[in-house]
């Protein structure tokens, strides 16, 4: 019993109760199914707030640790080992926060096979939360792989016309990367006789040459997940075909699993390789920033535009992480959170209009602001937050990252930061062009067409406004007063960087 009452175990496996309950509910009572799923995700959110309450921010070490022997026979030492620290607390909260919001957004969007949808969604939440809390390589890998299954079905069953292609592409791409990671994590696990991450880090002493290869293998898995240029080609397909709730979770949380992986595993486990390869990571990040932004500008499908903007924004996160200094890493963690909020909100808004018009072509829209003023205003705020307007959340993250990247001795080249700053300007261009084309100017052809079918474009309804309000709160909160967020991550990051400096030679 003690096992189940650990806060971190509870927050991970609480949705499992929902899954079991949903199995036994009749599949034609759609509202009952929806509210049950909603209740369990809200419950999980509640537990995660309890975790936040118990979390002691100034302590840089793992907290609320739950550690039990799992496979400790025949010389193996695999543990059920969960813990939370400054690197993961924000991502935990982001996950438990976005899941109920996504479910709430499916009220009218998902009418078919509601029961299965909710079951897969709750299973996805277990996997995601587990990924952010697991402190044992083996356990992490289990959760990491586990998230693929529900996401495959969410895209494949409830997605758009090319959903099956997209679902399989998503699955195979990710598996290809995680295969290499599996190989790499078996090495230290067998050599070091433990899979526990803190133990492996503190024992140190992976030879530099081995570090290099293991770093690359882990990078394969994480870079595909992020996705970093040039491994990003699964993302636009998956995003475009996924149902709205799936896109929100995909952009909001699943991509963060990749960047989080870099932070949690690559940097502390292979410090020398991380320092040596930091310029290369920065190079790829910068290419990703510019390439993603350029492609986003060229898209005619608004969901694709947001997808490519994710490639660009996550480039910033990678750049910040491999600056390997406190500013860069804290900025990157905050930016992960920000990107989850802003891009999640963008996908939600796109989904809300798509539900009415069934098209995502930018050129058929126009003059929406006049017809749907509330929708237009919310969209403007979210769009500005996504392009990094000062006073909103995106700015804080990107600014801190650039600050870190400029002063980074690991990257040791201010050009990367300089070119990346260009990415912010490009973001302003594609976001504002999109906004102008869709919301300003003369009425688009879609309005006429809908009228012919006897349908008038309506503004956001009460449910949709309720969904958007918490997102807007975070957009302003982080933008105007980010201190509480930095306080959560700061101590752990300082500790991580200090450890880096003692274990590697290159950093002064």
């Amino acid at each position: 019993m003690e096992f189940f009452l650990q806060p971190l175990t509870l927050v991970t496996f609480f949705p499992l109760l929902g899954v079991l309950l949903l199995f036994f509910l009749p599949s034609d009572k759609k509202n009952l199914l929806r509210w049950t799923a909603m209740g369990f995700t809200l419950g999980t959110l509640g537990i995660s707030l309890w975790v936040l309450e118990l979390f002691n921010a100034p302590n840089p070490h793992l907290q609320l640790v739950a550690k039990y022997d799992w496979i400790t026979v025949a010389g193996w030492n695999i543990q059920y080992h969960m813990g939370v620290d400054g690197l993961s607390i924000l991502l935990l909260l982001l996950t438990t926060f976005l899941t109920p919001i996504s479910i709430f957004s499916t009220w009218t969007a998902v009418e078919e096979r509601v029961k299965e949808f909710m079951i897969f969604f709750l299973m996805l939440e277990i996997g995601m939360v587990g990924v952010f809390l697991a402190q044992d390589l083996f356990l992490f890998y289990v959760f990491w792989e586990f998230t693929l299954i529900p996401m495959y079905f969410l895209i494949g069953i409830w997605g758009g016309p090319r959903r099956i292609y997209a679902a399989i592409k998503f699955f195979l791409y990710t598996m290809a990367g995680s295969g290499l990671m599996l190989l790499a994590l078996l090495g230290p696990g067998i050599e070091g006789k433990t899979f526990s991450l803190p133990d492996l880090i503190s024992s140190g002493g992976i030879p530099t040459n081995t570090q290099f290869w293991l770093f690359l293998a882990f990078t394969a898995a994480f870079a595909i997940k992020v996705p970093m240029w040039p491994l990003h080609s699964w993302l636009p397909d998956a995003h475009v075909e996924a149902p709205t709730a799936g896109s929100v979770i995909l952009a909001g949380v699943l991509l963060k699993m990749g960047t989080y992986g870099f932070l949690r595993f690559n940097i502390p486990l292979f410090p020398q390789a991380a320092v040596d390869l930091a310029p290369w990571m920065a190079l790829f990040a910068t290419i990703g920033i510019l390439y993603g932004a350029a492609l986003a500008f060229a898209q005619s499908d608004v969901k694709k535009l947001v997808a490519y903007s994710s490639v660009s924004h996550l480039g910033f996160v990678i750049l910040g992480l491999f600056a390997l200094n406190p500013e860069g890493i804290s900025g990157a963690i905050l930016q992960m959170f920000n990107h989850g909020i802003s891009t999640g909100a963008l996908f939600l808004l796109v989904g809300m209009i798509y539900e009415q018009t069934h098209t995502r072509e930018i050129k058929v829209y126009g003059g929406l602001w006049k017809i749907t003023p509330v929708f237009g205003t919310v969209m403007l705020i979210v769009a500005l937050s996504s392009m990094g307007l000062p006073g909103l959340n995106g700015f804080i993250g990107e600014f801190t990252i650039l600050l870190g990247a400029f002063g980074s001795t690991a990257i040791n080249n201010p050009w990367y930061a300089g070119l990346s700053a260009l990415g912010i300007i490009m973001a302003a261009i594609y976001i504002l062009t999109m906004f102008q084309n869709m919301f300003l100017g003369p009425e688009g052809s879609i309005v006429e067409e809908l009228k012919k079918r006897g349908h008038v474009l309506r503004d956001l309804n009460r449910r949709e406004i309720i969904i958007m309000i918490p997102m807007l709160i975070f957009i302003f909160w982080v933008g105007l007063y980010p201190k509480p967020f930095f306080d959560l991550i700061g101590p752990t990051v300082d500790n991580l960087v200090a450890a880096l400096q003692t274990t590697t030679l290159a950093l002064p």
Partner: protein, 495 residues
């Protein structure tokens, strides 16, 4: 020869199997018509009881493991016991699956054959002598030849029965030739005595390994590794599906049990470090393992028939299991045993669903599975569990099993083999997902799945639920099963 209680205990499951068979023979003729299904019930229940009794009374312990039983013919150790329990379990589940088969289910003979084959497999896992081993292999094989061709009215079944027999006879002959040469060189048929001779140099290692190659032909046929796999797809397609389920799990595991014992004994004293010769020999087998999984997976990609797909997938799985074998370490053997445990549960579940589907629709084509998730959500979920476990996804048994065999390869620095294994599991994932795609993402023609339900009869439901729970337990609790596998594998290294 003096009687000891160990003698009875060491063959307790086999004695009970024989008693069950006799009871069945006596009672079965009195059941007519619909009552004939009782034969299946009796067999399945009997087998579960045998399992329980053996686990309660017939476990080996430290003192019995060193004891030479029946003049050294068999060993009474954990390795044998663990495998025996796996065979009895899969026979019980197979009996459940046979009950509602049109022909198998109505004939008492089919159950007798099943029991006889199980008895043979049990002895295979326990034999420590070439003569005993050969007898055991034949006892296991002949009933399976009969079962493969059991539906005489169906030409395909007859064909597959004959094919299986011819291939089997051929490869067994080669193996027997190997046995006789071994005896000729060493003058003994006892495996452990043979091993001693290898250690002392009386029997040159080169000769022993060369003769092993002949033996591998026979066992390679049983476990369907390339290039001895040609029979598998045809026999799997033609034979009655419940029989195929048994063939692809228990029979394969029995082959691996013998291989494991032969290997470790053959390499005794040469293990750490491996002599060059033994090492190059292990490398040849490693290459075979790599080819086996690659070929199995690549050909499986193209299959449109469920039974053929499962046939090639089971060839590929022999390849994965071989990784554990060729590592020739404690971890390798443990992972092999664990792999077989997970594989037996998973593949039986996969075949069980195929059987249940075939019984209602009469089809084994994959495209006919479209819309299954609406026609029968329960069956679809079990297929999901089985196929994801075959593909090696958590939290199912197949996932952990794969990780352990790859770990075994990494531990002995056969990184290339682990890489090939991982690449293969990605290929495998693709075609397993393709099946799940048809089941979950496609709709039936006409989109009126609700009016074409697929009812599950009680025995199927029971068997499938037991198997899925088993797959989940193996994949999540892990430690106890891994502990048993380790216990079994350790016996190989104790003499």
């Amino acid at each position: 020869m003096r009687y000891t209680s160990t003698m009875v205990m060491s063959i307790l499951p086999e004695i009970l199997l024989l008693i069950l068979g006799i009871i069945l023979l006596v009672i079965e003729p009195f059941w007519k018509g619909d009552k004939r299904r009782n034969a299946g019930k009796l067999t399945a229940a009997g087998l579960f009881v045998i399992m329980a009794l053996s686990i309660y009374f017939g476990r080996p312990n430290e003192s019995t493991m060193d004891e030479v039983v029946f003049g050294g013919m068999i060993r009474f150790d954990w390795l044998a016991f663990f495998f025996k329990m796996m065979f009895v379990f899969s026979a019980a589940v197979t009996a459940l699956f046979m009950m509602d088969h049109e022909i198998l289910g109505k004939r008492g003979e089919s159950y007798i054959m099943l029991l006889a084959a199980t008895l043979g497999m049990n002895l295979m896992a326990a034999s420590a002598d070439l003569v005993m081993l050969f007898l055991a292999i034949e006892t296991a094989s002949i009933p399976l030849y009969v079962l493969a061709g059991f539906t005489v009215a169906d030409k395909k079944s007859t064909e597959s029965g004959i094919k299986y027999l011819l291939f089997g006879a051929m490869t067994t002959a080669v193996m027997l030739y190997g046995f006789s040469l071994l005896f000729g060189f060493a003058g003994t048929t006892n495996l452990y005595a043979l091993a001693d001779q290898v250690v002392t140099g009386q029997l040159p290692l080169g000769v022993a390994l060369g003769l092993f190659l002949l033996i591998v032909v026979g066992l390679g046929f049983k476990v369907a590794i390339v290039p001895f796999h040609f029979w598998a797809p045809d026999v799997y397609t033609g034979s009655p599906t419940p029989v195929v389920g048994f063939l692809s799990t228990a029979s394969k595991a029995a082959g691996f049990a013998v291989l494991a014992r032969l290997f470790i004994i053959g390499f005794e004293g040469n293990l750490f470090p491996l002599s060059d010769l033994a090492y190059s020999w292990a490398s040849i087998l490693a290459v075979l393992a790599a080819i086996t999984m690659t070929l199995g997976n690549l050909v499986a990609l193209k299959q449109t028939n469920m039974k053929r797909l499962l046939a090639y997938s089971s060839i590929a799985h022999s390849g994965y299991a071989m990784i554990g074998l060729v590592a020739l370490t404690e971890l390798g053997m443990t992972s092999l045993v664990f792999y077989l445990l997970a594989y037996i549960l998973t593949n039986l579940a996969a075949f069980g669903t195929a059987i249940a589907f075939e019984r209602v629709t009469g089809s084994t084509e994959i495209k006919d599975y479209a819309g299954l998730s609406r026609r029968s959500p329960g069956l679809a979920i079990i297929m999901l569990v089985a196929f994801l476990s075959l593909a090696g996804m958590p939290p199912f048994g197949g996932f952990v099993a794969k990780i352990f065999v790859f770990a075994a390869a990494v531990q002995v620095n056969m990184i290339w083999l682990a890489v090939i294994g991982i690449l293969n599991s990605i290929i495998g994932l693709y075609y397993y997902l393709n099946v799940l795609k048809v089941i979950y993402l496609y709709r039936m023609e006409g989109e009126d799945e609700e009016s074409h339900p697929i009812p599950l009869t009680r025995p199927y439901a029971l068997g499938l639920v037991v198997l899925s729970v088993g797959i989940l337990l193996v994949g999540t609790l892990i430690a106890p099963w891994f502990g048993f596998s380790n216990e079994a594998a350790l016996n190989l290294f104790k003499f």
